[in-house]
């Protein structure tokens, strides 16, 4: 009888202990006799939210000031000092995040992923520069964007590059934009942030590759002004499109252009449209035949682009960690690690999701990439088509005018114009 009682007693103790193991409280909380009090767990609070609201105000103020400096005051000096301010405030003080360039990914993610709710400040950082661009041209690029202004300060010995090269390289931002949207929409990665070349300079720390790419871009930027803005920036591609229809825009001359050619080489970004002499115009039948031909092949280009990109959907999808994990599990490759089990696989096993569920999820994501590939390819086909079309359009021009798309409103050309404004009050 006693024996059985003791066994029951032991069983009860064991069951309590097993219960404790599940709750991970293996050892009880001590009760101190010496009156020692347990210190609290320190939880340092994040950056105050008021500062984020301040950031939005500073952004709006900076945009207004730069727009005023560019459109009304026509002052290169003012824009330069605003760029220094932008590097100091948006770059070094705010340490680069969130920036408008990166925010386009947050916006995409918010549109495609119902679970992600986007903070209001991020919306402001995305929308405000676009709105200002719609009214005043790319004043954001001129003196507010820390990435652009940093390069602008380094543009010391700008050289001109061939216009065909400029056109070809000018397509890259659209490819980058398309990829950034694809990867953000599938919730895979924010590639624009991942390959942000300058954020390391603002924080004075970063990975080695970041400094190499950033330093290289700045070095190139000494000779070819703003390489990132012109040939990479996906947000710049958006602003380029919007700026073409801007209500107001910087003008080189305050009054009437006198064709003195003084401003001809003043633009480091090749964004000045030169006057076109009428005799340069091609014979009409050839030009219009080419125009019609290109217009007809644009839908074809869209289809070809879509088909090609969709064929690479598996290569695009492998960046997604879930797709990668599924592939590693199917092939039993263990992430190429010969000795130990890869962390990803350990984590997957401890998370308790079944393999079938993971494969289903991965297949779904891959399918999203297939659809996304069609859209991406179609978009790129459209971009190529319109680039070709714009090359074959002849537009008669008498004056030197800024190219509203590629002009970033830095106001350098203004100082070269000898014409005085007719009416000072204007």
């Amino acid at each position: 009888m006693k024996k059985s009682l003791s066994i029951i007693f032991l069983l009860i103790i064991f069951s309590i202990q097993i219960y404790n193991v599940i709750a991970i409280q293996r050892f009880p909380k001590p009760e101190f006799e010496s009156g020692h009090t347990q210190p609290p767990t320190l939880t340092p609070s994040p950056r105050a939210q008021a500062l984020d609201i301040l950031d939005v105000f500073v952004l709006a103020a900076a945009l207004s000031i730069v727009s005023w400096l560019v459109i009304k005051k026509r002052s290169r000096k003012g824009v330069f000092w605003m760029s220094v301010f932008a590097v100091l405030y948006f770059g070094i003080f705010r340490e680069g995040c969130v920036c408008s360039v990166g925010s386009l990914q947050n916006v995409t993610l918010a549109l495609f992923n119902p679970e992600y709710s986007i903070p209001l400040t991020v919306i402001a950082f995305f929308i405000l520069p676009l709105v200002y661009t719609l009214f005043f041209g790319r004043t954001f690029c001129a003196g507010v964007c820390p990435l652009g202004t940093l390069q602008d300060i380094f543009a010391l010995r700008p050289m001109s590059i061939k216009s065909w090269l400029e056109k070809v390289l000018g397509v890259i931002p659209f490819i980058y934009l398309g990829l950034a949207v694809l990867y953000a929409a599938t919730g895979t990665d924010f590639i624009v942030c991942r390959y942000d070349p300058f954020v390391g300079f603002f924080r004075f720390e970063g990975t080695f590759m970041m400094f190499i790419i950033g330093g290289l871009l700045l070095l190139i930027g000494v000779f070819i002004a703003r390489p990132y803005c012109r040939f990479l920036c996906p947000y710049g591609a958006l602003l380029n499109l919007v700026s073409r229809f801007s209500r107001k825009h910087i003008t080189i001359t305050p009054a009437e252009c006198i064709n003195c050619k003084l401003c001809e080489d003043s633009c480091p970004f090749e964004a000045i449209n030169k006057p076109v002499v009428l005799k340069d115009k091609e014979e009409k039948p050839i030009a219009s035949r080419r125009f019609i031909f290109i217009s007809v092949i644009i839908p074809l280009l869209v289809l070809i682009g879509g088909f090609t990109a969709s064929q690479f959907h598996e290569n695009l999808a492998i960046v997604n960690p879930k797709v990668r994990l599924a592939k590693e599990l199917i092939n039993n490759t263990n992430y190429g690690e010969p000795n130990e089990e890869a962390f990803e696989i350990t984590a997957f096993k401890s998370a308790g999701q079944s393999k079938e569920e993971l494969y289903k999820e991965a297949a779904e994501i891959t399918n999203q990439f297939y659809i996304g590939g069609w859209i991406l390819g179609g978009f790129l086909g459209l971009v190529f088509g319109f680039t070709l079309l714009s090359l074959s359009v002849f537009r008669y021009r008498e004056d030197y005018t800024p190219n509203k798309g590629t002009c970033i409103s830095c106001a350098r050309c203004v100082d070269y114009c000898p014409v005085l404004p007719e009416d000072r009050s204007l």
Binding site: S34, P46, F343
Partner: protein, 195 residues
């Protein structure tokens, strides 16, 4: 009359421009409306879920900060104040002393303080902690799991996309509302919520 004159000045090019301008403007307004509807006025910050964490050690190396913003936090409320601490001492040490070779922490960032027989209190020296999670693993294996990795928000730069989240094998990093920025596991949950 003046209005009519203005209308006459409008050529085809301007008309097209204006049309595009208004449609882009309307698009932007629509987009911001759509986003604002989905928006959450709070900012988000990055935090890691200790229940998903497998202590792989990537937090120590992948953060954009040169000393990772991920640190070990001690949830005192869960601690058993053990003498033989699985988070402090390396397993299988020959002598139970506080000598450096006996410590699990590679930077000696855990300070051990005698309270009363048989209890010891362990403090994390934040400046020394590199966020490798070795002690967390030890504490989870042998103790109560009171040592937990968390993003220290005083140090975190709050990148738009966290560099550690990108490589975290357990997918433990997530965006949490900035007004409740810590995510401790276990029975400490209610305590931290209260405070």
């Amino acid at each position: 009359m003046a209005k009519k004159e203005k209308k006459k000045k409008l050529n085809r090019r301007d008309f097209i421009d204006r049309g595009f301008r208004f449609s882009i403007g309307a698009g932007l307004v629509g987009l911001s409306g759509l986003l604002a509807k989905k928006s959450f006025s709070n900012e988000y910050v990055w935090q890691l879920d200790p229940e998903k964490c497998i202590q792989c050690g990537r937090c120590a190396t992948e953060c954009v900060m040169t000393l990772s913003a991920v640190k070990c936090f001690h949830v005192y409320d869960m601690c058993g104040y053990c003498d033989l601490c699985g988070g402090y001492l390396r397993p299988g040490v020959k002598k139970l002393t506080t000598a450096a070779e006996n410590q699990l922490c590679p930077t000696s960032a855990i300070e051990r303080k005698f309270i009363e027989e048989p209890f010891f209190e362990y403090h994390i020296i934040e400046e020394l902690c590199i966020g490798c999670g070795k002690c967390v693993k030890g504490c989870n294996a042998f103790g109560n799991g009171s040592l937990q990795l968390q993003v220290n928000h005083r140090l975190c730069d709050d990148c738009n996309e966290c560099a550690i989240a990108r490589v975290c094998p357990a997918d433990a990093f997530e965006r949490v509302p900035a007004d409740n920025p810590y995510k401790f596991s276990g029975n400490s949950k209610d305590e931290t919520k209260k405070s």
